[in-house]
Each structure stands twice: as structure tokens, then as C-alpha cells.
């Protein structure tokens, strides 16, 4: 059991981090806070991938004459792509938030939803 925990501690921690991020994304009311949670969530997934690429006694995946074992380069490649995706999503999200703030003078979800609900009632009646 102890072996199980110790041999995979990187994964456990990255899962813990993911869950912290995911919680922030779902539970927080502030729009920017959600995006912060999203960042943590995604970066933790990246940590999970990178941990997967590590090989015991491996060296960095760069050609080296004295190297015996290289680390797995594939997760690195995938994560390079994913980081870019993540930052792009963040940028779009923040741009959206700026627009939302301009329109509603608020970045609190429940306040905005209240305003919207009021508007909807008005158009219906």
C-alpha cells in the first residue's frame, strides 16, 4: 500500500491539483476566479503528462553521446501544444470577461444572472 502511494506520488499530487482547479472552476462565483481555477486545472493535467514522460535515470530528451536512457519526449511534445491551447483559452475568456464587465458593470455571476433574469421577465410581459 505504502509502495503504491510512494511509487506514484506525482500522479496523486497532480490529481489533487486538478481537483482544486476544477473546484475553483465550478464553485467560484467570480468570473475571473473561474478562469484562475481553469488555469490550475489545465496546468495540473500538464504535470500529469510530464510525470508520465519521466523514466528512472533518464536524461533530457536531447541527443547526448553519454546518455544511456532518454526520457520520453512524446508527452513533452503534446504538452507544448496543450500549453498554447490553454493560454489561448485564457486570453479569449479574459477578453470575454472585459466585455461582460463593460456591459453589466459586474464580474459576479449571480449578479449578472439576476440582471438577465429581470430583463427576460420584462420582454415576456
Amino acid at each position: 500500500m505504502l509502495d503504491l502511494i510512494l511509487s506514484k506520488y506525482n500522479y496523486w499530487i497532480s490529481i489533487l491539483l486538478m481537483m482544486i482547479g476544477l473546484y475553483g472552476m465550478i464553485a467560484k462565483n467570480n468570473l475571473i476566479k473561474k478562469i484562475i481555477g481553469m488555469n490550475i486545472f489545465q496546468v495540473s493535467v500538464f504535470l500529469f503528462y510530464i510525470s508520465m514522460g519521466k523514466v528512472r535515470d533518464g536524461t533530457a530528451p536531447i541527443h547526448w553521446d553519454r546518455a544511456l536512457i532518454y526520457d520520453n519526449p512524446i508527452p513533452h511534445v503534446l504538452i507544448l501544444t496543450a500549453i498554447v491551447v490553454s493560454i489561448s483559452t485564457t486570453a479569449v475568456a479574459l477578453a470575454l470577461i472585459i466585455r461582460i464587465y463593460k456591459n453589466f458593470q459586474s464580474i459576479e455571476e449571480d449578479q449578472i444572472l439576476k440582471v438577465l433574469a429581470r430583463e427576460e421577465n420584462k420582454t415576456d410581459s
Binding site: N10, Y11, L22, Y23, A27, P73, V84, L94, Y101
Partner: protein, 177 residues
């Protein structure tokens, strides 16, 4: 041992970043989180990724956050209503569920650093050998990125382009072209 410490730092930073009500400090701590992550990745020999994260995650991302904050509001509003608590409980349930599925999946994973893991034995050898032999590129990550999985990179560029166009489309002011 230092790895454990770094990981603990990550946990603390992330919790603080989510928890604090001051958005500015939250962003700064997020940046620190990214920075520690960079160190962790360097220690895991993922040099290229660490570089990128340092530049993009800790750098650019923080700047974007800060500029967004400057255009909106700094503080998160305090609220102690009961309704939100039920909502939080619901969120916690989802998170616990997802987390437990993930943990379940981790049980029979190859151990950390296992050289026998399939992830290392199916595609990787070809890439590691082929990089020098087929392409003559020393950095395997570069060779995979640019050639074997070049289309991902094109996709990645497209994503950046999309984000750029989106930001311009969203934030373009009235009267501009």
C-alpha cells in the same frame, strides 16, 4: 525530497490562489504556481516545456490577467448566503467524484519512472532513434514537434491565431476599423 517540497508548494499556492478574495494576489500567486511548476518540470527533464511554461504560463498569462484586472475589478465580492453553500457542496461532490475516478485509474498505472511502461515502449524508441537517424535533429522534442507530429503544431498555431482574432473581435472599440 525536494520534489515533494515543490509539489507541496504547488498545492498550497493553488489553494491560496483559489481561496483568496483579492484577485490581484490570486493572480500573483497563480504566477508563482506556474513558476514552481516550471521548476518541477525542469527536474523532470522536460526542459522545452518548462521554458514554454515560464514564458507563457508565468509570463504572458500573468500579464493578460493583470490587464484584464485593470479593466474590470480587483476584488471578489464577499458573500455568506446559504444558497451558495449548497452550490459549493454540489461542486465539491462533482470534484470528489471526478477525483475518485482519477485515483481509481491510477491504481494499476505503471509506477512513476517505470521504464517498462507502454508509453515509453511503443512510439518513443522510433522517435528517439529516428530523430538523429532520419532527421538529424538533436532535440527529440523539436523533431517530433516539427516533423512526426507537425500537424499538431499547425493546429497549435491555428489556435493562437483563433485566440488573437477572437480577442480583437471581442475588444475592438467602436469607431476603429
Amino acid at each position: 525530497m525536494i520534489d515533494i517540497f515543490l509539489l507541496m508548494f504547488l498545492v498550497i499556492f493553488s489553494i491560496y490562489s483559489i481561496h483568496t478574495e483579492d484577485l490581484l494576489s490570486s493572480v500573483i500567486v497563480l504566477s508563482a504556481f506556474s513558476f514552481v511548476m516550471t521548476i518541477v518540470w525542469t527536474r523532470l527533464n522536460a526542459v522545452d516545456v518548462a521554458f514554454t511554461e515560464a514564458a507563457v504560463g508565468a509570463g504572458v498569462s500573468t500579464i493578460i490577467f493583470l490587464s484584464a484586472l485593470s479593466r474590470t475589478k480587483r476584488g471578489e465580492e464577499k458573500r455568506v448566503t446559504k444558497k451558495i453553500n449548497i452550490y459549493n457542496l454540489f461542486a465539491a461532490l462533482i470534484v470528489i467524484f471526478t477525483g475518485s475516478v482519477l485515483v481509481y485509474g491510477t491504481i494499476d498505472m505503471p509506477a512513476f519512472g517505470d521504464i517498462e511502461a507502454p508509453a515509453y515502449n511503443v512510439l518513443a524508441p522510433r522517435f528517439i532513434i529516428g530523430s538523429m537517424a532520419e532527421l538529424g535533429i538533436k532535440n527529440f522534442v523539436t523533431s517530433i514537434l516539427a516533423s512526426y507530429r507537425g500537424y499538431d503544431t499547425l493546429g497549435e498555431t491555428t489556435v493562437i491565431f483563433t485566440a488573437g482574432v477572437s480577442v480583437v473581435a471581442l475588444l475592438r472599440r467602436k469607431g476603429g476599423t
